[in-house]
Symmetry: C2
Subunit: 163 residues, 2 copies
DNA sequence: CTTGGAATGTCAACAAGGCTGACGTAGTTT
DNA sequence: AAACTACGTCAGCCTTGTTGACATTCCAAG
């Protein structure tokens, strides 16, 4: 706001604006490779998100996924239905609570997930390599602090759960 | 892939997957504040993008904007029309080439832009503050290398032009 | 045991914002 | 004069978000 904040943080409004634009362009690059793979199959971003988190937490329920993705159940359901119909996702009625549907990737689903993930990781890895090892920690810290608290909880939960 | 790549890059596939998720959640946080402001006026992400880049490059042409945003003119036109109708954007016929339309924000447009930008910068600033000054450079380097080459050219052009 | 409410998931209809294709109208270039 | 370029628009489609209504299932209170 004033000279002090600039001095203390080493950040002018102009620098922040550039960071904002970098975020915008980078996110497009971030999804570009998966989007090409998905488009070839008639899928979109929403399918990728579902596939990613089902892979991450096999057996997760629809409700659980809703919390992570932050969309309505109707919206998710449409995507999920096509994935189940196409044999990429398995939806099994819960044994303990028969209202729940437990979601897992089929073998075909895992294959697509690997394809998407490999492409995306390759780009990430290249970006990290060029930025140097020191940048990685800082990058993740900044991203983590940019999340909403609720999103951050999800993130931390996934992180800890996968240890 | 093997132990060597881990050792050389300090990056396991698992670390990369976490970075991918961090990117996903962070981008949502990144747009959350503007989205609230926009929604109150009946606008969406597309309006923000147009407003941002018109502010950034006052007098830019429609064609120019199309290249930056990477959408079709039909799609952009819909957004632009509402912004002009609502008195946030001024579309003036070019003097040198009268086929072109030069776009600038009106006073009202600048007001909204400031509101959106302030909210977004505040979150960025907070994230950077918590990550520490060393993280800022690394963060931007990683983002820059994550872009497609074409996107990166646009980014560099904006960066150099605004000096 | 039954009944009412809460949780879970599905179907229907609508809106925003992408897309392609076709076309019109200026203005510019050759 | 002809061709090309910049922009706008109409029509129609797709994805992915939304709300509302509804069926099923579970659980807890009476």
């Amino acid at each position: 706001m004033d000279d002090h904040s600039d001095t203390l943080l080493f950040l002018t409004d102009e620098q922040l604006r550039r960071a904002i634009e970098a975020m915008f362009f980078a996110y497009r690059g971030f999804t570009a490779d998966p989007d090409r793979i998905l488009a070839a199959r008639g899928y979109g971003r929403a399918h990728h998100r579902a596939i990613h988190f089902i892979h991450r937490t096999p057996g997760t329920t629809v409700n659980n996924l809703l919390g992570i993705l932050g969309v309505t159940k109707q919206s998710l359901n449409r995507v999920l239905r096509t994935l189940v119909e196409d044999g990429l996702v398995d939806s099994r009625i819960g044994t303990r609570d028969r209202r729940e549907r437990h979601l897992t990737l089929t073998q075909d689903g895992e294959t697509l997930e690997a394809e998407l993930s490999t492409a995306q990781r390759a780009r990430m890895r290249a970006a990290f390599r060029e930025a140097g090892p020191g940048a990685v920690a800082g990058f993740r810290t900044v991203l983590e602090h940019m999340m909403d608290p609720e999103q951050r909880r999800h993130f931390a939960a996934v992180r800890d759960g996968e240890r």
